[in-house]
Each structure stands twice: as C-alpha cells, then as structure tokens.
Amino acid sequence: MDELLSPFEGIGKYILKIIDELGSLIIYLWESVLSIFRYSINFGNLIDQMIFIGMDSFYVIGLTGLFTGMVLSLQAYYAAKIVGVTYMIGPTVALSMTRELGPVLTALMITARCGSSMASEIGTMKVTEQIDALEVMAVDPYYYLSIPRILAAMIMLPIMTILCSLIGIIGGYIVYAYVLGLNHMVYIEKIYQYMKLSDIYNGLLKAVFFGIIIATISTFKGFETTGGSKGVGRFTTQAVVLSSIYILFADYILTSILF
C-alpha cells in the first residue's frame, strides 16, 4: 500500500514545495515593498544598480536587438515574398519587436547578465555573514540590498526595452534596404501606418513586470543561499532558471491580459 502511495506523496511534496516557494517569494516582495515606506530610498545604491542594469548592459542588449531585427526581416521576407506582401515586413519586425521580442529578449539578457550577478553577490554576502552583519547593525537588508535592485530593474527594463526594440527595427531596416534591396521608405511608412501607441506601451508595461520578476527572484534566491561557495553557484543557477521561466510565464499571462 505504501509503495502504491509513494508516487503521490512525491507529487504532493513537489507541489507543496512550489507553493511554498511562490508564497515566500510573494511575502518577500511584500516585505521589500513595505521597507520602501519604512525607510527612505537609498539613492546611492539605486544609481549604482541603474548603471549596472542599464548602461553597462547596453552592448549586450543592442547586439541582441540588432541581430534579432535583422533575422526577423530576413525571415519575414522569405514568407512575405510568396504572397507579394513584402511591404508588410516593416510592421512585422516593428510589432514583433515592440510587443513581444523587445521586452522578452531584454528581460532574458538582463537575467543572464544582472540577475545572476545579483543572486551571487547577495548569496556570497549571506554565506560570509555580511547579511547578518547588516542586520546586527540595524540595517534592514531588504531595504539596503533588495529595494535598490528591484527599483532599478523596474526603471531600467523598459528603458532598455525601448533601445532593444528600436535597434531591432533599425536592424530590420538595414536588411530590408541594403541586403534585400527593397524600398526603404515603404518600411518606415508602413510601420507608422500599422503600429498603434498601445503596441509600444503594453510592451513597456510588460518590461516593468519583467524587471520586478528578475530582481525579486534573483535577490530572493541570494538571501536563501546556504552551503558555502557551492551553494552560491547552485542558488545563482536557480535564480536564472526561475527568473527565465517566470518571465516567459508572465509574458503569456500579460499578453493575454493586455492585448
């Protein structure tokens, strides 16, 4: 009988673990948000994090956007030329970038670059008792470490998304005009014709959520870290994987709500 029930026990444990993790994540976010009201914002840390997530990520985001736009343009051409609607390539690239790929790719690249670094930095602080030291010095570690990161990610993600989408559209333009040799005016004109303001702003709204997700999960996993340097590695990996999954999951949910 026990053997028969053990798989169910496993499933139950797994589900409880997921719920537990999600629950503590939400409690953590709530605590962090509360500490915004409890203390004033630490602007020095916020600026440091904004530089780290924003300007320092510019090349990564730019290259991602550029090549994505170029590939989109090429691929759309392949399909569009069959029906002779090559004038739709511009809107295809622009809408894909602003609505979907811009926010998601930016979020994934920032996760890889900054989320991992947040998790490992806080994780290292945890295992070397620096977090305890903060608490002993009566400094709320959420206020000191999480809030600047969450706020910075929230602010910089949309900004980097704008750049990613713009560079992507420029990349698509380069391929459209110079590689495929099509009329470059059509590309721009049709984008303006078919794009709506809501396409841009819903994409940016997504990016804000992605920013919250990245910073929350990464810092949370950092605070959870136990088990020395090996633990830091393990929790950093968890942070990146979990952030990526939650981003894609949230992307679906937000898309179904927003569009």
């Binding site: 602080m125 008792e129 620096q130 030291a133 608490e135 002993v136 010095m137 400094v139």
Partner: protein, 250 residues
Amino acid sequence: MIVLERLTKSFNGIKVLNNLNIRFDDQKITVVIGRSGGGKSVMLKHIIGLIRPDSGRVLINGININTLKKKELNEIRKKFGMVFQDGALFDSINIFENIAFPVRQHTKLKESEIKDRVYSILSDVGLSGQELKMPAEISGGMRKRVGVARALILNPEIVLFDEPTTGLDPIMSDAINNLIISMHNKFKFTGIIISHNIEGAYKTGDVIAMLYDGSIIEIGSPAEIKSSKNPVVNQFVTGSMNGPINFNMI
C-alpha cells in the same frame, strides 16, 4: 544587563540549546567557552535577535526582544556592536567605508566628522593609513581589527565577539586580546566573547562560563574555573583527551 532564560533551540530535531540560563553583567567581559559547534554562536545570535528561540526568553535591560517588531528590534540593535568570526566586512567597499557604514546609516554627521571618528578608531585598532584598502587585500588579523573598529564606532553599550582569535597565530591572538582589553578600558562596554581559546579567556574575561551540551554547566571568575571540580570543565581547561567529553559528540 542581559539575561537568557530557559533558552531552548533545536535545528532539524537536534537540540542545540537545552534550557540555557545565564546572566551577563553590565560593563564586564564574559567569556563563554565550549567546544566547537557546541551552540556558542547560536546563543550569540539569540542575544542579538538573529535567531528566535523555540522556548525561553532573551531579556535586554529587561525587555524581551523576541516579542518586538522589526523596527523596535532595530532600535535595540543600535545598542550593540558585533565582531564576526571572519570579520564579515562588506567586500564591495573599502576599509574606511566599512567602518563608516554604521555611522552613515544611523547618524546624520557631516563628512568631516565621520572622517575624524573613523581615523580616531583606526588609530585605536592600529590600522592608521590602511583605510583605502579593500577587505580582500588585507590579512586575517587586520580584518578582525577592522571588524572591531566597525563594531565600536558608534560607541555601543554591548559588544559581542564571535571567536575573535580563531584562525590567528598566537602572537596575533594575543594582540587581539590586548586590543579587546584596551578598548574595554576605553569604552566600558558590556562584552560577551565566545571562544574556545582558554588562555585568551583567562586573560580577557572578568567572568568565564562553560557551555556544554546546550546549557551552562559552570560560571565563575577565571580562578574559579581553573580550580573547578567539574570533570567536564576540568577536561576542557586542561585540554585532555581523557574525560567525560566524548569525541563522537559534536
């Protein structure tokens, strides 16, 4: 005055603290000795509210800190300074900023005043001229001294030392012990040192307490501990392999 009452704590079903009672008198240095992993650090973390007990109370000047809210607890914590085993210095900022950190967080002093304070305490701990180095660039002994400086910068009532001499050579250990004594003479804080270095305990402690099997089994002046009849204390003090302390018990 700090009082721990019937403190009990277990991790994963193993009782680390078992009905522990102790009182730490004001302006005295109490050294808690005991085996590695014997629950000394856990006791220390209870005192500062990093860990909450399963049962029992932690009273600081008569206030039970386990029932406090986060903000009230932080007010209590401002009375404390703590020196961590490995220093726990923030490795993203330099020595100066590490020492200035509590000042910046809790006071609104001007930059010049902060500078004066940090330089004064740096010279007290014998680290003048090292303030621009990063924590990764200095030796273990120096890290401990920076830790002491950071703990003392706000002139706290109570200072906790988590194994201040562990991992140092005998000369450096002695230097740290002397530093603790001189700082105590200067600032008159209530000191709680946990250590397994018996020689250091004799030197620094006004009172020595022995933590064994989750509770305090003996407390008294260094002379009393030295001449204790308790076989466990005796074995620990003499550092003998033979006695009631079993090696399998960790």
